[in-house]
């Protein structure tokens, strides 16, 4: 039962069976991560290039760990210090990587659609590790895996994505995946950060956090991307925190157990107060661990697909 596609570019349009297969396979790899020797041989002899055209520490480390634990050979490729900064085009960079007989490319790029383009010009399997504000499929898959691990199901859960949805590829991929898997999905944030077309996808839109807290099972709290000039979309960080910051008092007022997720890295006491991030309902560190298992599953399924 292979994946239907040769690449993992996004969760938009991905069939439910494919998502299910990835989540089921990840469970086997999750067990591998508990072993004394956390390395298995299925990708021996395969070479994977990690092309990160945009800074990312944890996603890159997570992919690299997943690749090494599958016994693949790993080529690291950072934009700083590479010829991309000398003006080489994406196509030429890709061709060169391919000339080195690379079997798979994991790519993070600041431009939406860059991995899709790459998948058309090279033979290798392409995995999107985040493209612009478009998609970040492995993050959404690991979020869904974490939910399945905690609740035993995804269907019927109410997940609210809080924060800067407009600029978030994590939000976009989560919305696509969660809708496919039958979850109830809502978003909550300032009007300037919520794309209007979301209601067409069947996503409920909230602007007041306390309203959604009454009925939600899970909050997936987005990082305020301060480095991307997010400040243009709300008056001040303090005001953002007052309106949308997740704090213990707020959660206690809601009076129900709400699972807290965050794709990291956290701006502590901006979108999430420190005691909530470290609190009993936080699954943030499980997300990190599950991320390795989910990425192992994706790489394994693509490599053995055909």
């Amino acid at each position: 039962m292979p994946l239907l596609s040769k690449h993992l570019l996004g969760l938009e349009g991905m069939p439910k069976n494919d998502i299910q297969l990835i989540l089921d396979t990840a469970e086997s790899f999750r067990e591998v991560l508990e072993r004394p020797i956390k390395k298995v041989p299925p990708l021996q002899g395969k070479t994977i290039a990690n092309m990160f055209f945009e800074g990312s520490t944890r996603t890159q480390l997570s992919f690299e760990l997943a690749e090494r634990r599958l016994s693949a050979d790993v080529l690291g490729f950072q934009v700083s210090g590479s010829s991309v900064s000398k003006g080489e085009s994406l196509k030429d960079t890709a061709r060169n990587i391919e000339a080195m007989k690379v079997d798979m490319v994991v790519m993070r790029h600041w431009a939406a659609g860059a991995p899709h383009y790459l998948s058309k010009v090279i033979d290798a399997n392409v995995v999107n590790a985040g493209d612009g504000a478009h998609e970040h499929p492995t993050q959404a898959l690991l979020d869904m895996y974490t939910l399945k691990e905690k609740y035993g199901r995804i269907e019927g859960l109410h997940v609210c994505i809080v924060g800067d949805v407009l600029h978030s590829r994590v939000a976009r991929s989560n919305i696509q995946g969660l809708k496919t898997m039958g979850a109830r999905v809502s978003v909550c944030g300032p009007a300037t950060m919520i794309p209007k077309e979301l209601d067409r996808l069947g996503v409920e839109i909230y602007h007041h956090l306390d309203d959604v807290l009454q009925e939600v099972d899970v909050l997936n709290v987005l990082r305020l991307q301060l480095e991307r000039d997010a400040g243009r979309f709300f008056p001040s960080i303090r005001e953002y925190h007052n309106s949308y910051g997740i704090t213990r008092e707020r959660l206690e007022k809601a009076g129900r157990p709400i699972t807290i997720m965050h794709p990291g890295p956290i701006n502590r006491d901006v979108e999430l107060s420190a005691d909530v991030a470290d609190g009993e309902h936080s699954v943030i560190l499980q997300q990190v661990l599950n991320g390795v298992a989910v990425r192992m599953a994706v790489l394994y399924l693509l490599a053995t697909g055909n």
Binding site: D24, K46, G305
Partner: protein, 184 residues
Amino acid sequence: MRVLKAVIMDAPAMERTVTRLSHEVIERNKGAGNIVIVGIRTRGEFLARRIAARIETVERIKIDIGFLDITLYRDDLLGKLEQPRMKGTDILFDISDRDVILTDDVLFTGRTIRAALDELIDLGRPKSIQLAVLIDRGHRQLPIKADYVGKNVPTALAESIRVHMKEVDGEDSILLMHPEGEGG
């Protein structure tokens, strides 16, 4: 299409075989105190469960059992037409310094056992690994042999052995199948 050539074992014969294998394991290891049983999924799992149940009855001790999914250790994983679905390895105890009885339904080329040995070694350092199978059909491609054999069945390469077990197939039987149109 494959046609039946012979019934190798029926349900009572399988039960007697499991009983004999269990007793051989106890005898060889002078008891079952240090034994753990690990079955290779799918049907090795049920052989492991049956042998463990038998030994528990005879020796009146609890036997640790675990299950191996050797998919990740296969040597034909890349380039296979059909992607195998993983069922997961499930060994909830430390195999180090234990006598591991590895079980599978049919011993054929030896490649599955090679994969299982590699995976076991990655899980710990057992005192010994012993192999128990229901059927040894010959045609080894690797230097591997079983310590406990239900029945040796000489076969032609084109033939196949079909093992049915109650737990997955609804009945117990072992059949020798022949490719259609090749006589026999």
